[in-house]
Amino acid sequence: MLRAKPLPASLRPRKRYIAFRAESDRRLTKREVGSAIAASALSLFGETGVSEMNLRLLEFREDEQRGFVVCAHTQVLRAVAAMSAVSEIAGERVHLRPLGVSGTVRALRRKFLSGEAALISSEKRVKLEGKDFILRGTISGLCYAEPVDEVLRERLRILKLRFVGVLDKELRGEEDAADAKHGL
């Protein structure tokens, strides 16, 4: 099939690439993230608004939970708002956190999508201020623990979460200044 001749550089639409990290209590797929961004943008700005934005998910690495979208160069604020307004996917809380904006994919990869600490999975039983938790994962000192206590589990269910966020220091018993004095 005959392909369209590329437009001269001066006539090509200018773009911006926005890198983001998907944060959730479970691993998200590219399809889920793509449809969540599209639905959020449509809900916030309508069909006319989204057509002006030219917003598309270009890449999403499911192992790292990071990717990037492309949008028109004048619509970065709207694209960030659309990603920021994504609150849940399949009934669980998520956040698509923008990492940075760039004019080229190469610069974006170099600045924002290289070198990320990996999630370390575990199944360890831990205690925090007298309560039992099962440690499920740790990334850069941030730990995600599943409570055993039924009251806490119910609170998480209401908030559409699976885990409580705890610092590794707290689990090791090194009290962080803010937490020393109060029970949960």
Partner: protein, 219 residues
Amino acid sequence: MFTDLHVHSLHSSGADTPAFLRRLARSLGVELCLCDGVVHEGIASGMEVHATTKRELLSELRRNWRRFDYLLVHGGNMEINRCAVRDSRVDALLHPYAGRRDCGVDTVVARAAAESGVAVGVELEDLILARGMERVRVLAHFREILRLSRKYGFRVLATSGARCRYSLRSLREAEALLACCGFEREEALRALTQVPREILERKVRLRRELSRGVRFAEG
């Protein structure tokens, strides 16, 4: 820096420990203040007052205003909205539109807020979690509050209202969300950075006073 005055930790209705939230907030460039109704060491601590009657509100304010770095009032009821903005012990009236068809700020509330210096708060969580027509209403309320603030000159405060790690927003994200409701860049930055700083500094100033209007000379 975005100073977020309304974040809940595991000590109230949230899901994460204060230390976890503080580490996360630091990585986002957000200054975290916890609104648990508990005094945390090393973090500005506040309280969100929930009251159904004027009498209950005044008694809560009397009991707590010296304990915390700032006091926020959960709005919605018009009687509470009016009473809160008239009382200078209150730092901000949060979501005055909660459970209402209007934005909860009329000319009486707007004038009183401008005179007493009580800020009127909009919460990003209300916007993020709402869907369909509910979100349309929230956006309309934010716009109306902004319009009245331009007219009467009361301060608008923006907070995340976060109950979990996924609700914390960076300055850039918060600014982008506020821009959807018609906030100009300067107005958004004022609501996110300047107004919360003024609230925290005011309490420090008040604590230095020996009695009303009398304090040690500095320098």
